[in-house]
């Protein structure tokens, strides 16, 4: 890996840190990346399926998951893991991600992870060849390609510090705040940076100066390097060794901060947790001297660092870097209150899932109501056998006579002088677990039995334990000998046109068992519709999870609602035509059993 990140690099962001994620997307938009740099968010306590963010002036949705495993499975190409967990959980979150695998680098922002855990985590990552940036860091950046979270600060500062496109410097620091400062100094005195890493302020960090600098040595875009070290630790000596042994040949400019520490005893902690000198070798002054002796460019003080950068940069005589095109993020943006993903009325002609209405409305288009349902309900173009099935279902459930409770309610309401819509919704409001709900229930329970490979007998037992009659089984008068022709029609259609009907096949074996107990315990029309819908979705390639979601969100019931609306409207219009008076239920039909209320 000569380069830490590219313009295609994508990350999984653990914790929905909205401002940091927005900063990344602003950067992406500014540098005109093709894809957002955050592919998924892991938010263990959120049930949201996505989070909205701005992408330039517009909004986009980034998928959100409860677990890292689910996020990685959905976005396998995202090979950077940005761990924004607290110091209490950061270790576990990192270890889990390392075990899931498929990440090339991970950044950990938490400060103060227990040292032993940090060491363990770093060693484990190293063994798995995963580059760890942090803990206790603001991150890393490859200008013009990918930036982690808040590094570089605001988008205005990023452009001012030339972090929007690759320069020639490889920058490594411990401190995150000074990383930004140095980017600015490098922009003023040279041509910006090619790759930069703030390795983190804790005593035990994953990748150290030398790891990053050896990679930068291999990266042709890096022409020279700047190292900003600190009092404490011995990491700078590994760099000195690499310079001496010729592993690092590019010019290096370096400075260790914390020269003041020599005036105070160890009771004063300067800067980060890692910044505490044990012995002379770990003092800033000693390290600065050793680096200078090894041929590294070391200024006289931090104040002189800009001058030194200018000097080294000028001596390299590099060609000027062309300024790439940039997009400008608007400074005022308003988040949208509503999201629509099915239709769009902004153009010349309104569209259903991308199709102009005129392209499906008239008969010569060859499209029917089933096609409209597939576009507006499922945002997919279903094949003809499926749209025909949908239409068959709608036609089959359209009406079941005036006696059923929904139609009865609609009629009573219409007779009370209410309008079509009022009467209709009265009927519709009756639809639920007992009226029309068998479609949902049949799909749910038969699918459950089939998924769990229950034999028909086991399924019956299971339902008995649940204390529920099997939804979709049983008819008032119909039996195997006197079949329901609507059911037969649906089954014949499925047999002729469905690629396969595994759930129906299973349901038929259940039916054999139930009808052997009682003649009229047949698969009824609700059951057949629910079961065949599952078979349809399976054949269309939906995952079991998708189908379970259709069931739980009430999609099956929606077919019943849609179809039965036709019938209800018919009954309401019928009442209007007949001009029947207000209905009053005969008292003779009511059992009155009213006791005098007891005093309590």
């Amino acid at each position: 890996m000569a380069k830490l990140y590219t313009r295609d690099t994508q990350a999984i962001f653990w914790n929905n840190n909205t401002s940091a994620i927005q900063r990344m997307l602003d950067y992406d938009y500014t540098i005109q990346r093709k894809k957002p740099s955050v592919a998924a968010i892991v938010a263990p306590t959120s049930s949201n399926k996505f989070e909205k963010f701005f992408y330039g002036p517009d909004e986009i949705m980034i998928p959100s998951f409860k677990t890292t495993a689910a996020a990685k499975a959905a976005q396998p190409q995202a090979d950077v893991f940005l761990n924004f967990a607290s110091f209490r959980t950061a270790y576990d979150v990192t270890m889990e991600a390392l075990d899931i695998g498929g990440f090339s680098s991970m950044m950990i922002t938490a400060e103060g992870i227990p040292e032993r855990l940090a060491r363990h985590m770093n060693a484990y990552a190293r063994a798995k060849n995963v580059t760890i940036i942090g803990p206790a860091t603001v991150g890393a950046i490859v200008p013009g390609a990918f930036k982690i979270a808040n590094i570089g600060g605001t988008i205005e500062n990023i452009v001012q510090s030339k972090l929007h496109r690759a320069g020639s410097c490889g920058l490594v620091t411990r401190s995150g705040g000074l990383f930004n400062e140095l980017s600015n100094i490098i922009a003023i005195n040279a041509d910006g940076i090619a790759e930069g890493v703030a390795i983190g302020g804790d005593r035990f960090v994953g990748s150290v100066f030398i790891d990053n600098m050896l990679r930068m040595q291999e990266n042709p875009e890096v022409k020279y390097m700047i190292l900003l070290g600190e009092v404490g630790g011995t990491e700078e000596y590994k760099v000195i060794e690499a310079v001496k042994s010729g592993k690092i040949t590019k010019p290096v400019i370096a400075w260790c901060i914390g020269t003041i520490a020599k005036y105070y005893d160890s009771g004063v902690q300067f800067g980060h947790a890692g910044a505490s000198a044990n012995g002379e070798m770990e003092t800033a002054a000693y390290k600065n001297k050793a680096m200078a002796e090894a041929g590294i460019h070391v200024p006289a003080s931090f104040n002189d660092l800009p001058l030194m950068i200018k000097e080294v940069f000028t001596s390299l005589n590099l060609p000027a870097i062309p300024e790439p095109a940039m997009s400008l993020c608007p400074s005022v943006r308003k988040s949208k209150e509503f999201i629509c993903t099915i239709s769009d009325d902004r153009g010349d002609e309104a569209t259903y899932a991308g199709f102009p209405i005129s392209s499906l409305a008239t008969p010569e288009t060859g499209k029917g109501i089933g096609d409209v349902v597939s576009l507006l309900w499922f945002k997919k173009q279903y094949p003809k056998w499926a749209t025909d099935f949908i239409e068959t279902v709608i036609k089959t459930v359209a009406d079941h006579g005036p006696a059923v409770s929904g139609a009865h309610n609609a009629k009573v309401t219409a007779r009370a002088g209410k309008s079509v819509v009022e009467s209709l919704v009265t009927g519709l409001l009756t639809i639920g677990p007992r009226f029309g709900g068998a479609i949902d229930g049949a799909a749910e329970y038969f699918k459950y039995a089939d998924d769990n490979k229950l034999t028909p007998a086991e399924f019956l037992n299971h339902m008995k334990k649940e204390g529920v009659p099997i939804p979709g089984i049983g008819h008032r008068i119909k039996s195997l000998k006197n079949p329901d022709l609507r059911v037969k029609g649906l089954m014949d259609y499925a047999a002729a046109h469905f690629p396969s009907t595994p759930l129906l096949d299973y349901a038929r074996t259940v039916e054999q068992l139930t009808t052997s107990k009682k003649e009229n315990l047949i698969l009824n029309v609700d059951g057949t519709i629910g079961i065949l819908m599952v078979d349809m979705w399976r054949a269309l390639g939906y995952s079991e999870e998708d189908i379970n979601e259709f069931i739980s969100s009430g999609t099956l019931n929606s077919f019943f609602i849609l179809g039965r609306t036709i019938g209800f409207i018919g009954h309401v219009l019928d009442e209007k035509r007949l001009a029947m008076p207000m209905y009053r239920h005969p008292m003779s039909d009511i059992l009155y059993d009213v006791q005098v209320a007891e005093k309590i």
């Binding site: 060491r119 930004n180 900003l228 931090f302 104040n303």
Partner: protein, 444 residues
């Protein structure tokens, strides 16, 4: 700082609490008490029979070593091993009543370097353990570089430093398994350990190292421990804990405190207040008072930048003029920043400069990544409003340099506020080199 020293008494208490887990084949009587004065010892003696029955040893427990050479270990009255409870009580009362001088390094028995003077406030009292010199052993563990290192020696007590070449060092990677650790330790038992103790020594060392790792010690030393068959005495211990592990070690460590070292100034109420605010905030607030009467005070954002400012002040003005070290970072709220600024400005306006010069307040910082500059500066401005009169009285000159989110507004606001309040201020943004305001302040 992640690694914090704890008292010997607490170190022994932690090991005793987990003794059977790590040292199932050994016994440790855990006869030790910590007291602050003689009457406290008399009081605990009512419950602890051994204090009345056994000969005692008493010594201060205040994070410093070389107590024997400093004459601060009571183990004899007329002859070694005859210290009674009454004697221990009177000795502790005597030693705790006046300031004591302690040397931290010795050349042979001659003290070198400077002594520190302070009151002795904590003592441990334990039974006198008669034992032979060859029963004394040394063991310690710490982390060096990326590895843990276990040090073992057959020479315990005061002799260990003089015989450091006989100390065996064994390195362990963090990934070493328990089996690997055990076999490395068994293969490296110092050859001078008595033949009869070799097996026991290895067993003890394995348990010791396991306790060091699992209980999140950063440093753990027993010098010496006495091994008499399966009976262990911990004569002297030094320990540091990795306090970042505190949240998961609450149960294991019990009620442990991190005392200030002997001779160090007690933390001032202001420093304690900042520490308290820091512990309650997601942001970072740090303050160390170096020289409260000095004229240059710094209020710098960011761990790295604060060090650079301190370096520059030391280079350009010398440390005599630097009053404090500290930093605020990680996006503190307006009120947290105000509290931090209040504390600093209050401290800097208590005494006038001896030479009558203006005081200097450096409000510095690098270009912030995510801290909202205008928001934090609002806190500083509120503090200016509270302390304007005092700041004028001490002729405080304020120099500001900052960049980052919303910096233009922050700089404009602080300039306007200072002008309105009649305070001297110079304000610079990211176009000025981060530490250049130090040079400017000193040039005037």
């Amino acid at each position: 700082m992640a690694q914090k020293a704890i008292r010997e008494y607490d170190a022994k208490s932690i090991l005793a609490k987990h003794w059977d887990k790590y040292f199932p084949n050994f016994t440790y009587a855990y006869e030790t008490v910590m007291v602050q004065n003689g009457s406290e010892l008399a009081a605990v003696a009512k419950d602890k029979k051994w204090l009345n029955e056994k000969a005692l040893v008493a010594k201060p427990d205040m994070l410093f070593g070389k107590r024997g050479k400093n004459g601060l270990v009571l183990f004899k009255d007329a002859k070694p091993g005859d210290v009674s409870l009454a004697k221990a009580i009177s000795w502790i009362d005597e030693k705790s009543s006046t300031e004591q001088s302690v040397y931290f390094s010795f050349d042979g028995d001659t003290p070198t370097g400077e002594a520190k003077t302070d009151m002795l406030t904590h003592f441990v009292v334990e039974p006198f353990t008669p034992h032979a010199q060859e029963e004394e052993y040394y063991i310690s563990a710490t982390c060096v570089g990326d590895d843990d290192v276990l040090y073992m020696s057959a020479e315990g007590g005061m002799e260990v430093e003089e015989n450091w070449d006989k100390v065996i060092e064994v390195k362990f990677a963090i990934t070493d398994t328990e089996d690997e650790i055990a076999s490395k330790i068994r293969a490296n038992i110092p050859k001078d350990v008595a033949e009869k103790d070799k097996e026991g020594f290895a067993d003890f060392a394995i348990g010791f190292f396991k306790a060091y790792r699992e209980l999140n010690f950063a440093y753990l030393e027993i010098n010496p421990f006495v091994m008499q068959g399966s009976k262990i005495e911990l004569l002297d211990m030094v320990a540091k804990l990795d306090d970042t592990a505190g949240f998961m070690m609450r149960e294991q460590w019990g009620d442990v405190e991190y005392p200030t070292s002997f001779g160090m100034e007690e933390k001032s109420p202001e420093v304690l207040a900042i520490e308290d605010a820091d512990s309650k905030s997601g942001a970072s607030l740090k303050l160390t008072i170096l020289k409260p009467e000095a004229r240059i005070w710094t209020m710098v954002a960011g761990g790295g930048a604060s060090v650079v400012y301190a370096d520059t002040i030391a280079d350009l003005a010398g440390i005599e003029d630097l009053a404090n070290y500290g930093e605020y970072s990680g996006g503190p709220t307006t009120s947290e920043t105000k509290f931090y600024a209040d504390t600093l400005i209050d401290l800097m306006t208590r005494t006038p400069d001896k030479e009558g010069r203006p005081k200097i307040l450096i409000i510095g910082g690098a270009i912030a990544n995510f801290t909202d500059v205008a928001k934090t500066f609002t806190g500083i401005i509120q503090s200016f409003e509270t302390y304007a009169e005092k700041m004028k009285e001490h002729k405080v000159k304020t120099y500001v340099r900052r960049g980052g989110p919303n910096y233009e507004k922050g700089l404009k606001d602080i300039k306007e506020a200072a002008d309105r309040l009649g305070l001297y201020i110079e304000v610079y943004g990211p176009e000025t080199h981060v530490t250049d305001i130090v040079r400017m302040a000193l040039a005037k």
